[in-house]
Amino acid sequence: MRSWLSAYPAFLRISLLASIQYRASGAIWMIGSILEPLVYLTVWSTVARSQGGTVGGYSTAEFAAYYTALLLVNHMTFTWIMHEFQYRIQYGSFSFALLRPIHPIHADIAENLAFKAVQLAVILPAFVVLCLGFRPHFELSAWSLALFVPVLFCGFLLRFFLEWTLAMAAFWTTRVTAMNQIYFSLQMFLSGRVAPIALLPLWISDVARHLPFYYAIGFPVEIALGRLTPDQAWRGALLQLGWLALMGTTIALVWRRAARRFTAVGS
């Protein structure tokens, strides 16, 4: 087994312990994650009702399905790494990560997964409550459910790689908050978090369907809804894998330069 892979069970166990320490503050974070899709769901359901029941092919029950699935997908794929990097560089805590004979991304992935596992205790009941309150309509099929799991995992890795790469900007300019804000705005819009991609103007949705934001969030949601044909789903999965490979390569290249930059300027 690769040495980094064998580190995961211990990393996950330790991160779980740390996450449990702050379960209350974690749960408060989760309330924010629940409110976001709830707000959009309420808005779009109201719009759909005022338009005679559907908007852009989505009925109120399909909006409910979209945003309840988004709640889960967003939870399983979100990261806070871009906020964390500024702190790490500014206060020099990255030094210890560089001294260890293992790439620092592994501890970050484990920490992220552990936090999510603990907070499922909040997200899953919220999912059930939203389902009971908004009566979502899912077009479930065996193949789409089977595809959902790997697509969700790849979505998680894609978003993680993308945000870890962007977070490394902190090695060059310590104040990265403004840049982060631009990313979050673009991501909200182009990933399908504000509205399903299909509701955007045609040219924007065409562009969005070729960008990584959608393959990290919107695409797994649409797989879960069962709205995509098998052909669209497989093509999407291939594009997602392509983005994942590209981001995996990018992260390796940027990391090498970032570590060198860190060792050039110090902390």
């Binding site: 040495s3 330790i14 312990l17 702050y22 030094s95 560089l98 060792t263 110090g266």
Partner: protein, 325 residues
């Protein structure tokens, strides 16, 4: 014996922005940015053999930490060459990283919110220790550093001294062959400092690891380091035995007198450092030691007289402040 650490004309400079105070200077700096080059380390050459403990002395900003960071791979030099266990440290090859450790007195690597033993376990997997090896080392370190009551406590609940002991233990779990200790006793009380010192000495004796230590506490250096390297403004001023440092740099001697009939004014013999009843301490120029001692014995009723080198930290202070005779 081939050295475990070898530095050849190692240098590190930084370019730092320079700006005067005030809004005007702030606005000017937007269009015309002034910078200056700071030479943190200049042409440092050094060899450290296996098992050596070397004290790295210097005032704040002398270049000690910068050198340690270059040797542990955290900084890339501007010029020169370094080899640590045959590796160029800033390449940060895993094979090297598994054999070195860096302890920084002001920073901690333990995970704040969970028991110490869990941070140790993380190091077990990072350094690929077998469970048996890990268990033995935890037991050894627990005994040597008296950690048994601390291992199950969350790090945030430990005192500074307790945390430092655990930090050192975590840093040594993988039995590194080279220890870079940057101010390891900073902020610790005297007994904790002593405890850590004797532990480092014992680790060095048992494992034959080389230790490069920086400290502002001369007691650390006196207790641990047969060899000292004095660095100032990024350059090595001295590299040798601690006793030789005093001989080389101290222009003064200290005379302690026990007088029969009180002290009186002894300033004609030299600088009176302290008077405690009939006990007087004088500081005199080294080259006048014989003459002044003779005069003291002739002119005063002396019960006892001892001549000594001044305390090491006084000598170091003279070196750093440029007050050398």
């Amino acid at each position: 014996m081939s050295p475990v650490i070898e530095l050849e004309r190692l240098s590190k400079s930084y370019v730092v922005p320079v700006r005067e105070a005030g809004v005007r200077a702030g606005l000017i700096s937007i269009v015309k940015r002034k910078t200056r080059q700071v030479d943190a380390v200049k042409d440092v050459s050094l060899r450290i053999d296996p098992g050596e403990i070397v004290g790295f002395l210097g005032p704040n900003g002398a270049g000690k930490t910068t050198t340690l960071k270059m040797l542990s791979g955290l900084l890339h030099p501007t010029a020169g060459e370094a080899r640590v266990l045959g590796h160029q440290p800033w390449r940060r090859e895993n094979e090297l990283l598994r054999q070195i450790t860096l302890v920084m007195g002001q920073r901690n690597q333990l995970i704040w919110d969970i028991p110490v033993i869990d941070s140790f376990d993380r190091n077990r997997v990072i350094y690929r220790l077998s469970r048996a090896e890990y268990q033995t080392r935890v037991e050894e370190l627990t005994e040597l550093l008296d950690l048994s009551q601390l291992l199950t406590k969350p790090v945030r609940n430990l005192s500074l001294g307790e945390r430092m002991k655990c930090e050192v233990a975590a840093a040594l779990l993988h039995h590194p062959r080279i220890l870079f200790l940057d101010e390891p006793t900073l902020g610790l009380d005297v007994s904790m400092q002593r405890r850590l010192r004797s532990f480092v000495a014992q680790y060095n004796r048992q494992t034959g690891a080389a230790v490069l230590l920086t400290s502002h506490y001369m007691a650390d250096v006196e207790a641990l380091c047969p060899r000292v390297v004095v660095i100032h403004h990024g350059e090595i001023l001295f590299d040798g035995k601690l006793g030789e440092l005093v001989k080389k740099f101290s222009a003064l001697k200290t005379i302690v007198l026990e007088l029969e009939d009180g002290s009186g004014d002894l300033s004609r013999f030299g600088e009176v450092v302290s008077v405690d009843g009939s006990r007087v301490t004088l500081r005199i120029p080294k080259q006048e030691t014989a003459e002044i001692t003779g005069r003291l014995l002739r002119e005063l009723k002396v019960h006892d007289l001892t001549v000594a080198d001044p305390p090491i930290d006084e000598v170091i202070d003279q070196v750093f402040t440029g007050r050398l005779a």
